[in-house]
Symmetry: C2
Subunit: 187 residues, 2 copies
């Protein structure tokens, strides 16, 4: 699809070739590995070697974090994917369904149901694109903005718990490392 999209007010496209700032990771902390050994911890059989496999560790952490996040924003009636769509549309209004889906790694066919629901709840709306009659320009409604605002407050509570669990000084380290695993490992 065409590159630069809406240049609302936030001037995009100023991607200085050389990364603006390198992030110097210098985390120094004492960490207690939960437990080692092939045994039982709190009545549950230890997963042993599994815990040293990045994939497994990632999955368990992700599930755990999502569990907390979902419970935290439950009052908004939003699920994680819906929340991320609102954040994205708030940041960059006018995106097409395909653009949002691609950015979030969602199949555009599956995105239909998602945006349908957001529209049904009056949180977002499809406006006809002025330049392309095939697509819609997605927008947040006022209700969408207020809901998002509340969701952000709740998300902050959740994020605070995550920071506490992982250690505030280590959060940026974690994010930096995770970003390296972003979409696609070279093969």
């Amino acid at each position: 699809m065409s590159s630069k999209h809406k240049s609302s007010k936030t001037d995009l496209a100023h991607r200085s070739e050389t990364a603006p700032s390198r992030l110097r990771i210098v985390a120094t902390t004492d960490v207690e590995p939960p437990e080692a050994d092939t045994a039982v911890v709190a009545g549950v059989t230890d997963v042993g070697a599994l815990g040293q496999m990045t994939g497994y560790a990632l999955r368990r952490a992700q599930i755990s974090v999502f569990e907390d996040f979902i419970a935290t924003i439950a009052e908004t009636g939003l699920r994680p994917a819906q929340f991320s769509v609102l954040v994205l549309l708030d940041q960059t209004p006018g995106l097409t369904q395909s653009a949002v889906a691609a950015a979030l790694g969602i199949q555009r066919a599956n995105f239909v149901t998602l945006i349908n629901e957001l529209e049904r709840r009056g949180l977002a709306r499809r406006e006809p694109s002025l330049t392309d009659r095939r697509s819609y320009a997605l927008q947040l409604t006022d209700k969408g903005h207020t809901t998002l605002k509340r969701a952000r407050e709740l998300h902050a509570l959740h994020e605070a718990r995550v920071r506490e669990a992982v250690g505030a000084e280590n959060v940026e380290t974690l994010l930096a490392l995770l970003s390296r695993l972003g979409p696609g490992l070279r093969r």
Copy 2:
């Protein structure tokens, strides 16, 4: 991965093996944050603020890593959950279905299908428990062991890619941080 794991007799409960000491995290590395700005990277709209949310970052990383892992062990016909069951049964033979399910965070009702399939493929078997007629003592078959061995080789290739992507010196840091997000954030 490790070098241990071989003497898979039935001696569980042999504590201490991995240094139960404290893990000193001292990662020092230069990391290029993928890209900043509300813009487009390679034709895809940037997710912006989303990238700073641990949950989102975790999810994307997990999906990416799993994708690679699944593709890598595809030749064994194993899916991640099945692989983890084999690893667990190899490490601790004789576990019951409930024990394995609990250790892996799987609903025991859903584990039935999983072990059924492993048994159907001749990789594991249900032996009658000698002490409890309600449950089974799960075991790997010879075929299960050889399949697991091959899967481990393939997993090593996968893990190597992960290490390269995240930086070999940072892997233990990542694992330590992820373990802190393990099951359940305090609420």
